[in-house]
């Protein structure tokens, strides 16, 4: 991470707009495409002001068709452009899923790198904002499972900007998941101008020796709250924000659990087949003999995300995580 002298206090959504401005300014081949991204500035205002600044040839309102949007952006990406596609909510990406699975992620292999798809798909995701039905999905595991796709999830304004710039500059398709709950949850220091955070690298949010907590997106804050509560009870947590779900930061994961010997994985996605299971596989392969207790998972349930009256019951919270920490430490 480069050190920038000038900082601004921004929300995550403002930091994302900043990142888009930076790349639109530095690279003529960058395009922003999506539904309502133009005059309206995006349903979450992530593209606010870009239409006015860069015009309708670069910030493009498209027909309401996710497959069409992703599919035509694949063509643009194969032919010299770097499209940044906004899908309004993760729950609405599925009509475009085929274009991601059978094309965007295979074109490099199929053409032995004659063609590539430098496309970033930005998608708000996750629960906790009292949104309508289908607006709260966390199906990141579906995407982390696809060969040829990188999956990135920031949890802070600072990381959102640096990771988004890296994603757009990456030569391959990147799914950039933006936790809706964190969009306007407080402001953070964000460097001005150009700076990047490498993909595939996690970040230690808090250091502790007793147990590792692994989380991403909105669950990082939950992990930090749980770590605070655990500290009050004399248990020190190593809180790791994974930031990239593919590829995962194997070194940081191994280093953390080899120090603590215990782990709790927190994700709001359903438990079965989630990215947490892959984390356990990595810990098993790298650190089996270091472990003092079985790895715990605190996750959403294997049930469709409920409507918002039950949303808090569905989601992991600090108390659920604290319970798992205590069980692991006392094992």
């Amino acid at each position: 991470m480069s050190i920038a002298v000038n900082m601004k206090k921004l929300t995550m959504v403002q930091a994302i707009t900043e990142a888009l401005k930076v790349v639109l300014e530095e690279d003529e081949s960058v395009l922003v495409l999506g539904e309502d991204v133009g005059r309206n500035g995006g349903v979450f205002r992530a593209t606010d002001g870009l239409f006015e600044a860069f015009g309708d040839q670069r910030v493009i309102d498209t027909p309401l068709a996710e497959s069409g949007l992703i599919g035509t952006s694949i063509g643009l990406a194969m032919n010299g452009f770097k499209p940044i596609v906004e899908i309004q909510f993760l729950g609405f990406i599925y009509p475009g899923f085929n274009q991601i699975v059978t094309h965007a992620t295979r074109i490099r292999t199929r053409t032995q790198s004659r063609y590539s798809v430098p496309m970033t798909i930005r998608v708000p995701y996750g629960a906790g904002v009292r949104a309508p039905e289908i607006h709260s999905d966390s199906t990141e595991a579906l995407f982390a499972h696809i060969p040829g796709l990188k999956v990135v999830v920031p949890s802070t304004p600072h990381d959102a900007k640096g990771l988004l710039i890296s994603s757009i500059r990456d030569p391959d398709p990147v799914l950039f998941l933006e936790p809706m709950k964190m969009y306007r949850t407080g402001k953070g220091d964000v460097p001005n101008g150009n700076y990047t955070i490498p993909l595939g690298k996690g970040y230690r949010r808090r250091s502790g020796d007793d147990i590792s907590l692994f989380a991403w997106g909105a669950m990082v804050k939950v992990a930090e709250e749980a770590a605070e509560k655990a500290a009050a009870k004399g248990m020190e947590c190593d809180v790791i924000d994974l930031r990239s779900l593919y590829p995962l930061d194997k070194e940081l994961i191994a280093e953390s659990v080899q120090k603590t010997g215990r782990a709790v994985i927190i994700h709001e996605a359903p438990s079965s087949g989630g990215v947490g299971s892959e984390l356990i596989s990595i810990i098993n392969a790298t650190s089996f003999l270091y472990m003092k207790s079985p790895i715990k998972k605190v996750t959403g349930y294997d049930a469709p995300v409920p409507l918002f009256t039950l949303e808090d019951d569905y989601l992991p919270d600090a108390n659920k995580v604290l319970r798992a920490i205590e069980e692991a430490v006392r094992f």
Partner: protein, 354 residues
């Protein structure tokens, strides 16, 4: 609503080889050029089917009967244009300059067969249905944004018109006036399902009305008409006048792929009748004979030349027993990504999986 009058079948030379109207493209030179390409394509197709029967390549999707539609359209493109084929369009890709060895290699199970010759924009055959329509639209959109006069042409079948991506592609192209030619080969069947189960409308061409773009219905077995209409569409696109939908009505004589038996879902007598009455290759022969320009010796020479070319390609293809194992790992990403690198290492060192 019957729109067949609004979208009449355009024919320049009928099944008897009779020229029906004046057209600058109906010349002896063009007839010979088209004949040579179509004859070669048919020999390629039969060679591929034979290779599959002998176990020398894998499952193959034959196109015999559709040579007129593919050759007529492919020859309307120029270098720098983009071609998006399906898995049944090797007559088109070969005519546009794809490597025969690579086409054979693809069907032999080697992904490197998808790589087009340097400078040729030929996309790998799309295996899912209709999804390539969007890529053609996107690459042509990029050409428009760059201010070039290059265009994309995309092939798809009658079944593809039922897919959402067909409609999304036409709509995007219409909204943004993208220089793309949507070239439909209506061969009447999507594997076994007849066109009546794909749509209630009488023509595919009329679907252009919904997207406010020109639509034409052409006899796909009349290579002159296909060439003429495709060229018009390509030129319109080059001039910035937007997309066109072309429906080329044709027929596949044989199976969907070498794994199915067409007599199970249709009377193959119809295929035989069509072969007699409207075959795209015989039609050009009849035309040349009527013009006193047919020469048996010339045809023999073409066949010999084609057979040599095919034999060379097959010999070259057979030098590759299988793809190099590295190919499985080396082009997943443009940068090193550790799970792929780690798995590659384990594969080559024969270590157990994690």
């Amino acid at each position: 609503m019957d729109l067949t009058e609004q979208f009449p079948l355009i024919q320049l030379v009928n099944g008897e080889g009779k020229q029906l109207e004046e057209n600058p493209f109906i010349t002896i030179a063009n007839a010979k050029r088209f004949y040579e390409q179509m004859l070669f394509s048919r020999m390629f197709d039969r060679k591929a089917v034979n290779l599959q029967r002998q176990g020398r390549i894998g499952t193959y999707a034959p196109f015999e009967g559709q040579e007129g539609a593919q050759i007529g359209s492919a020859l309307a493109l120029e270098d720098g244009d983009w071609m998006f084929p399906t898995y049944r369009d090797h007559a088109a890709t070969a005519a546009f300059g794809h490597s025969l060895v690579n086409i054979f290699l693809y069907w032999k199970g080697c992904i490197e067969g998808c790589v087009p010759p340097e400078g040729k924009h030929i996309f790998p055959p799309s295996v899912p249905i209709a999804s390539q329509i969007l890529h053609a639209t996107g690459t042509a959109w990029a050409e428009k944004k760059k201010g070039s006069d290059r265009v994309s042409l995309v092939y798809f079948g009658d079944g593809a018109t039922s897919e959402g991506d067909f409609h999304e592609g036409l709509n995007f192209a219409s909204v943004f006036q993208i220089p793309v030619v949507f070239f439909n080969q209506n061969n009447g069947y999507a594997i076994s399902v007849p066109i009546e189960r794909q749509m209630h409308s009488k023509t595919i061409a009329q679907k252009s009305l919904a997207y406010d773009m020109p639509g034409v219905r052409v006899d796909g077995n009349d290579v002159f008409a296909v060439y003429s209409e495709t060229l018009k569409a390509v030129q319109r696109a080059r001039k910035g006048e937007g997309p066109t939908l072309i429906e080329a009505v044709t027929w596949r004589y044989g199976a969907h792929t070498t794994t199915d038996e067409p007599s199970k879902y249709r009377d193959q007598k119809e295929s035989e009748q069509r072969r007699q009455s409207e075959d795209p290759i015989n039609r050009v022969e009849k035309y040349l004979r009527a013009e006193n320009s047919w020469d048996d010796h010339w045809e023999e020479e073409l066949k010999k030349k084609a057979e040599d070319r095919l034999q060379k390609a097959v010999t070259e293809m057979e030098k590759t027993k299988k793809s190099d194992e590295e190919l499985m790992f080396d082009h997943v990403f443009g940068t090193d990504v550790w799970p792929v690198q780690e798995q590659k290492k384990r594969f080559f060192h024969k270590e157990s999986e994690r």
